[in-house]
């Protein structure tokens, strides 16, 4: 073991003496420092903006004047996707998923906003966050630093010399890997520092931040092993470099994009416009509130009259119009929920296909694990959409309840033509302040941890494979 350490120390001295390696490492450290600082600043600003917007929306709702409750159904409210503290480390899908939804009656609105729609086209080249540095930049730096470490010495005859002095090839390879691992550790420091800083802001996330750090180190460990392996196996330093750069381009750049293209084609998503139209059509067949002879609403009315044993809706102990609104909302929301679940299911199938393709390219597994940990993955976005829809339904039905029980039917019926009835149909503003505001904490720590497992498993499989290949390289040449 001490021989391995000696070899590693010697290799590290060589790294330090190599101008290319030192300059590249210095540039990378600077870049990831910039990414860490701006990432933290940007995420904090965005999180604060969203919290402010949510508070403004909540207080606007609570402070509306006396009104007819159905007016509040249309006035609606907003839900903003909160940004967790670890988003500073990995913003994940945040830029591409709308962060704001307008919640109102009768409609399930699309999300709006999102950095991708308010940035220049450069956003397609990638976002310089600490996670991006670890996933994309650090591996290539390690390639540049380490490609020649074994094969270069073999080409110059040094390896034979070292072996003749009693070092085993195995020690040699282990020492080189250890040295490159040390470089990886240094290169990862600013990004991991950013993660630590983010976790310090939210101690509840410390455990999952640690898991994310381990995932990052595992990912870089894969590169250390792969680079050592290629350097030990390659015929020349040049071919080692070409093979590694090509491998990096395929694993980090090419396959994730190609996988996304394949997933989009394999499980096509309907457009929001088409889904809305299909919902309208299905709704008409379930119960058409515009049709006075619609069987569903006729049965609904007959059922109420029978239950309360009255002949006319005017004799019901509550406002029939409110009850009708609540029934209409129930029907539309059933369809909204079904179609939203269909859309989410297609998106998750796309996600699972990416994960499967990730067996061939662990960059996908690492990205998915990191986003899941930060709570900025697809599942986190879907959880937000579900929470927003649940809130919308609860709020609208609560307002429909007020419409049913607090607004007199006679005033309600006459409000559009009689100013006195209009005034009587308004209810106290105190009811608005009593509505529970939207609150969504994001996915739980347990769910995020579970979301990290598939990606971690893929990386562990790769690590085992690479270690096995490296051991063979260490023994094969010795025999």
């Amino acid at each position: 073991m001490s021989r391995v350490r000696t070899i590693a120390a010697a290799q590290l001295r060589l790294f330090v003496r190599s101008r290319l390696a030192v300059v590249a490492l210095a540039l990378l450290l600077m870049l990831s420092l910039i990414a860490a600082v701006t990432g933290a600043g940007q995420a904090a600003r965005m999180a604060a903006d969203r919290a402010t917007a949510q508070a403004a929306s909540n207080s606007a709702f609570a402070n509306q004047p006396d009104r007819h409750p159905h007016r509040m159904v249309h006035y609606g409210t907003y839900a903003l996707r909160p940004l967790g503290p670890l988003a500073a480390f990995d913003p994940g899908v945040d830029a591409f998923a709308g962060s704001l939804i307008f919640l109102e009656g009768h409609r399930q609105n699309a999300t709006t906003l999102g950095a991708a729609r308010e940035s220049s086209g450069l956003i397609r080249f990638g976002q310089l966050a600490p996670a991006f540095v670890l996933r994309v930049l650090v591996p290539l730096l390690l390639v540049f630093v380490g490609f020649a470490m074994v094969v270069g010495e073999r080409q110059s005859g040094l390896t034979t010399l070292q072996l003749s002095h009693g070092a085993s090839l195995r020690d040699l390879i282990a020492g080189k890997a250890l040295a490159l691992g040390a470089v990886a550790g240094v290169a990862a420091l600013p990004a991991l520092g950013a993660l630590g800083w983010a976790a310090a802001q939210a101690p509840a996330d410390a455990g999952i931040a640690l898991m994310m750090a381990l995932a990052a180190l595992l990912w870089l460990g894969l590169w250390v092993l792969a680079i050592t392996l290629v350097s030990a196996r390659a015929a020349s330093a040049q071919s080692a470099l070409l093979a590694l750069v090509l491998g990096w381009a395929v694993v980090v750049v090419l396959v994730p994009r190609a996988a996304a293209g394949v997933a989009a084609l394999a499980y096509p998503l309907p457009t929001k416009a088409e889904t809305d139209l299909v919902i309208h059509d299905e709704l008409r067949r379930m119960g058409d509130s515009h049709n006075p002879d619609d069987p569903h609403f006729a049965a609904f009315k007959a059922g109420l009259l029978r239950r309360y044993n009255v002949a006319l809706v005017e004799d019901l102990p509550f406002n029939y119009r409110g009850a009708l609104s609540a029934e209409g909302e129930r029907l539309t929301s059933l369809l909204f929920a079904r179609h939203a679940a269909d859309t989410a299911a297609i998106q998750m199938r796309q996600h699972d296909l990416l994960a499967l393709i990730g067996l061939a390219s662990p960059a996908i597994g690492f990205a998915q694990a990191s986003m899941a940990g930060a709570g900025t993955d697809l599942a986190g976005h879907i959880a937000f959409l579900d929470a927003a829809e649940a809130h919308r339904y609860r709020l609208i039905q609560s307002l429909n309840g007020l419409h049913t029980w607090q607004v007199k039917g006679a005033a309600d019926a006459a409000r559009n033509r009689d100013p006195i009835a209009e005034r009587q149909s308004r209810i106290s503003s105190q009811f608005w302040a009593q509505q529970r505001p939207f609150a969504h904490a994001g996915p739980s720590v347990a769910a995020r941890m579970a979301g990290m497992l598939p990606g971690l498993a893929v990386m562990l499989v790769w690590a085992a494979l690479l270690v096995w290949l490296l051991r063979r390289a260490g023994m094969g040449a010795e025999a």
């Binding site: 086209g121 310089l128 293209g261 929001k272 559009n416």
Partner: protein, 413 residues
């Protein structure tokens, strides 16, 4: 010259030929995916238009000619029809919808709607022809050209080869030319095939081909400049890969951060809230005040703007329009800010030719930020036309006949 090129082709090593074949394959796959995407987008648009016609027929059943009912319930499909080069960098599945539906209610609450896209797929980026041209073509070119001289030096043949008469013209030029030419061919043949399938206008296809050649030309010059320096082939490869990496990944990502920090935008959530407040305040304001403000915008309706105590649709649509009017300046300054961000990114492209090529390809494909902004501007103009088509019925009180319903402005016409 031909003989020299043929000789260099025969001398091309197996891995180099394999690399060229893989590049041609990837470019073909990218074009095929692009074509499939474009076809799906067109089908999406056609389906929405057909479903919308059925929806409008259903509305006609209960609206009974009331322009207010039509105005409230009827949606009008709008879309971004993929052009003849959209397959280079298709936009299907983007956050910006390729097809959406708008009503003549306040537009501000509709125009920013996102597509129900999978954000994880957008995050990964697209595997399209623009990507192959920007990232993969140059990488292969670097692999083929970086050791043009150092490879021979390391094999011990350089001095002998250089001492040949006319070595530059008879040896190095054909060698570099065949390698650049083959990379170009691997990209241009799939591009041409895509163009033929799409029936692309010849001059636009030529423009796209010129962009591909410009990218290859840039990287060939850079690579040959580095290859000429006397250094180990591995060092040259590392320097070139580092340059490629900086130009295609690091600098754009860093510039994106810098540009967004340098050009702040008005808060979109606040604009949305203000629009809603303005629209809903309409319910509580005296009708005469709302109508007076509307008439200031549309004096032609001054004689028809009187209202009674009862609800009337013209008043409802008047305060919808006033809601948009109230945030028009903020909304325009937001779009202007986005345009300024894009202008700075385009300026960066003039410094880094590969970035400019990618931007220009996206421009030709109609999937760049300029196209998004143009779509929004078209959408605002169309929304105005729709509103103004309905106002005479809303204010004049004449019912909309089926012919009037059918004659409403159609997107893109």
């Amino acid at each position: 010259m031909i003989a020299a090129l043929m000789r260099e082709w025969r001398l091309l090593a197996g891995p180099a030929r394999a690399g060229l074949a893989v590049l041609a394959l990837l470019a073909s796959v990218a074009v095929a995916l692009g074509l499939a995407d474009v076809r799906q987008t067109r089908a999406d648009i056609a389906r929405v238009a057909a479903l919308e016609a059925r929806e409008t027929a259903a509305i006609a059943g209960f609206a009974k000619g009331d322009a207010g009912e039509f105005g409230y319930y009827r949606n009008f499909p709008v879309w971004r029809a993929p052009g003849d080069l959209a397959f280079l960098a298709p936009a299907r599945g983007d956050a910006v919808p390729a097809v959406m539906r708008i009503r003549i209610l306040a537009l501000e609450g509709q125009i920013n709607d996102n597509e129900a896209a999978n954000p994880e797929l957008l995050l990964a980026g697209r595997f399209d022809f623009a990507f192959v041209t920007l990232y993969l073509g140059p990488l292969l070119l670097i692999a083929l050209l970086h050791d043009l001289w150092s490879g021979e030096r390391e094999a011990g043949r350089l001095a002998a080869l250089d001492s040949l008469p006319w070595a530059r013209r008879r040896l190095w030029l054909p060698r570099a030319a065949i390698r650049c030419g083959l990379v170009a061919l691997a990209l241009l043949v799939p591009l041409a095939a895509g163009g033929v399938i799409e029936g692309t206008a010849a001059e636009r296809l030529a423009l796209a081909a010129a962009l591909v050649l410009a990218s290859i030309g840039f990287w060939a010059l850079v690579t040959l400049a580095v290859a000429r320096v006397e250094a180990a082939s591995a060092t040259q490869a590392a320097v070139l890969a580092g340059l490629w990496f900086a130009i295609t990944l690091v600098i754009p990502a860093a510039a994106h951060l810098a540009i967004n920090a340098a050009v702040p935008l008005p808060d979109a959530a606040a604009i949305a809230r203000e629009n809603r407040e303005e629209v809903h305040a309409g319910w509580d304001r005296p009708k005469t005040e709302t109508m007076a403000r509307f008439v200031a915008l549309y004096p032609a309706y001054a004689a028809q703007a009187q209202t009674g105590v009862a609800f009337t649709w013209k008043w409802y649509f008047a305060f919808q329009a006033l809601g948009d009017e109230a945030v028009a300046a903020d909304s325009a300054s937001r779009d202007a800010g986005i345009a300024r961000r894009e202008a700075q990114a385009q300026a960066l492209g003039w410094l880094l030719p590969p970035i400019k090529v990618a931007q220009a390809l996206q421009g030709l494909a109609g999937s760049d930020v300029a196209a998004d902004l143009a779509f929004k501007a078209d959408l605002r103009a169309y929304h105005r036309r729709l509103r103004e088509y309905h106002y005479p019925y809303l204010f004049g009180g004449a019912p909309m006949t089926p012919a009037d319903v059918a004659a409403a402005p159609v997107w893109g016409q």
